[in-house]
C-alpha cells in the first residue's frame, strides 16, 4: 500500500488558505500592470537576497575571521566587522543617492545636488573605521598595562 502524504495541522491549513485567498485578491491587482516585471521583482528580491547578498556577506565575514585568526588575532573580529557592516548597510540603502544614479532627477526636483552624498558616506565610513581602530588601540594599551611584567 502506498504511504499516505501527511496532511499536518488542519488549523494551520485553514489559516494558510485564508492567507492565500487574501494574498490572491491583492495579488491579481498587484499583477494587473506589468505582471512579469512585478513577479520578477517580487520573487527576484527573495532570490537575490537569499542566494546572492546573504552568501556574499557571509563569505566576506568568514574570510575576515579566518584572516584575523591566521594572524593570531581572532578577538579583533568585531573591530573590523562592525564598521564594515555599518558602512555597507548605509551604502546598500542609499546606493542610488551615493552613486549619483538619480542626480539629474534629484537636482531638478528638489533644487539640491547629490554631490554631497558620496563624500558624506566616505566620511562616515572613515569615522566608523577610525573610531573602531581607536577603541582597539585603547583596549590593547589597557591590556598591556595590566599584563604582568615578563619574566626574565
Amino acid at each position: 500500500m502506498p504511504r499516505r502524504v501527511p496532511v499536518g495541522s488542519p488549523l494551520q491549513l485553514l489559516l494558510l488558505a485564508c492567507s492565500f485567498a487574501l494574498a490572491g485578491y491583492a495579488g491579481v491587482r498587484l499583477l494587473a500592470g506589468d505582471w512579469l516585471g512585478v513577479a520578477l521583482w517580487f520573487a527576484g528580491a527573495a532570490v537575490l537576497h537569499d542566494l546572492v547578498l546573504l552568501p556574499l556577506y557571509g563569505t566576506a565575514d568568514r574570510a575576515a575571521v579566518r584572516g584575523l585568526d591566521a594572524a593570531g588575532h581572532r578577538e579583533w573580529t568585531p573591530y573590523v566587522r562592525v564598521p564594515a557592516m555599518l558602512s555597507g548597510l548605509l551604502l546598500l540603502i542609499w546606493f542610488p543617492l551615493i552613486a549619483g544614479l538619480v542626480d539629474e532627477r534629484y537636482r531638478s526636483a528638489t533644487g539640491r545636488s547629490t554631490d554631497g552624498f558620496l563624500a558624506r558616506w566616505l566620511l562616515i565610513t572613515a569615522v566608523l573605521f577610525g573610531g573602531s581602530a581607536l577603541l582597539l588601540a585603547l583596549r590593547l594599551r589597557r591590556a598591556a598595562k595590566h599584563r604582568p611584567p615578563a619574566a626574565h
Binding site: L15, L16, A23, D50, M85
Partner: protein, 408 residues
Amino acid sequence: MRDDPRLPSSPGFWRSPVRGSWFTSVLGLVLLVGITVLFVTGLVSYAAYNPNLAPVNDQTPDKGILGFYLFSWPTGPPWLYRLTQGTHVTLGITLIPVLLAKLWSVVPKLFALPPARSLAHALERVSLLLLVGGALFEFTTGVLNIQLDYVFPGSFYPLHFYGAWVFIAAFVAHAVLKTPTALRTVRARRDTTTELVSPRPDPPTVSRRGALWTVGGSSLLLFATTVGQNSDALRRTALLAPHGGANPGSGPGGFQINKTAAYAGIDPAETSEQAWRLVVTGRTGSVRLSRADLLGMPLYSAALPIACVEGWSTADQWWRGVRLRDLAALVGYDDPPDVLVESLQRHGAFRRGALRANQVADPRSLLALHANGEDLTPDHGYPARVIVPAAPGVLNTKWVGRMTFGDL
C-alpha cells in the same frame, strides 16, 4: 549525503554560534511590533489621499474591499500626516537591519530537507516566499521611491499598496503560527529547540547578546541619520537621507521643495502678473481673478508644515492668502463643498487634486500667496498654491490655475 557539511542542506554547513531560536525570536518580536506599525501608518497614508473622493486622487481604482476602512481625512491636528508618514518612513529604514538579521538567522531553514514534511508544511513554505519576497519588495520599493529612483515596474502607489496587502496576508499567518513559540522562547531566555542551532559551531567571535546589540546599534545609526529630515532644526543630522543636509536656499522661501517649477514644466510667462488668472467655478458660474484681485480679498494667515509621502517634512511655515471657504462663497457656496484643484503643471500624477468639504471648510485652509512674509517663490508655487492642514504634500497643489467647487 544529507549530512555532508559541504552542502547547505546539512545543519553542519551553518557554523555561526549566534543562530538559535532565542536570537530569531527576539528579532521576530521586534518585527511583529515594527511591521504592524508600518502597515497601519501605511494604511493611514493611503486614507490621507482621500482616494474615494475623486478619481484624480485615486491611484488604485480597482482596490475593491482593500479600501474598506477609508474615512474622511481630518484637518487636525495639523501635524498629523507629518507624524504618521514620518513614522512610516523613518521606522521602515530603522527596521532594515532587524529584517536582514532576522532573514540571516533563519536562512538554514531555506535549504533544509526534506522540503516538506506535510501538506501544511509545504503550504507554509509557499507562504514564506510571499512573506520574504513581500517584505523585501515593500522595503525595496519604499527605499527606492524616497530616493526618486523609479526603476520598479510600474507606478509606486499601486505596487507599494497591493504589495503591502500580499505581504501582510503572509505576515499575519506567519505571526499567528510563530508568535506563541517566540514569546515562550524569549521568556525562557534561551533556545527552546535545537532547530537553527549549529551542531558544529565555530568558536564564537561575538556573544548572542553582542550580536543583538550590533543589530540594535545599526538601527540606531540609521535612525539617527534619517529622522532629522522631519525637522528643520535637526535636518543637518540626517546625513544621508534624501531631504537631510542643507535646505535648498536661505531666506523666507528657502525651505524644502518637493518638485521645482522647472521640474513641473512651469513657464514663467504663464505665471506673470499680466498672464496669470485663477479661474474659480461654482454654482453661480465662473470668475477670473488676477493676483491683485486675490490680494484685495480678506487675507488670513496659518502656520502649517509641508509633509511629504516620502517621509520628510518641514517645520511650520507662515502662509498668508485667501481662505478656500471664501473662494467657495465667491461662486455661490456659503456651505463649503468639495473642490477640484488644477495646476498649471503639464504632467505628473498629482497635477490635479481633490479636497473634501471638511478640508475646504477649515479656516486654516488657504490659497496661499505668501510664505514667511514674502511672495511665494516659483518653486513653492507662485503665483498661488493650496495649503491645507494635515494634508499630504502633493494635495497642496502648487501653481494653481483652476478651482472647481461642487460635489465631486
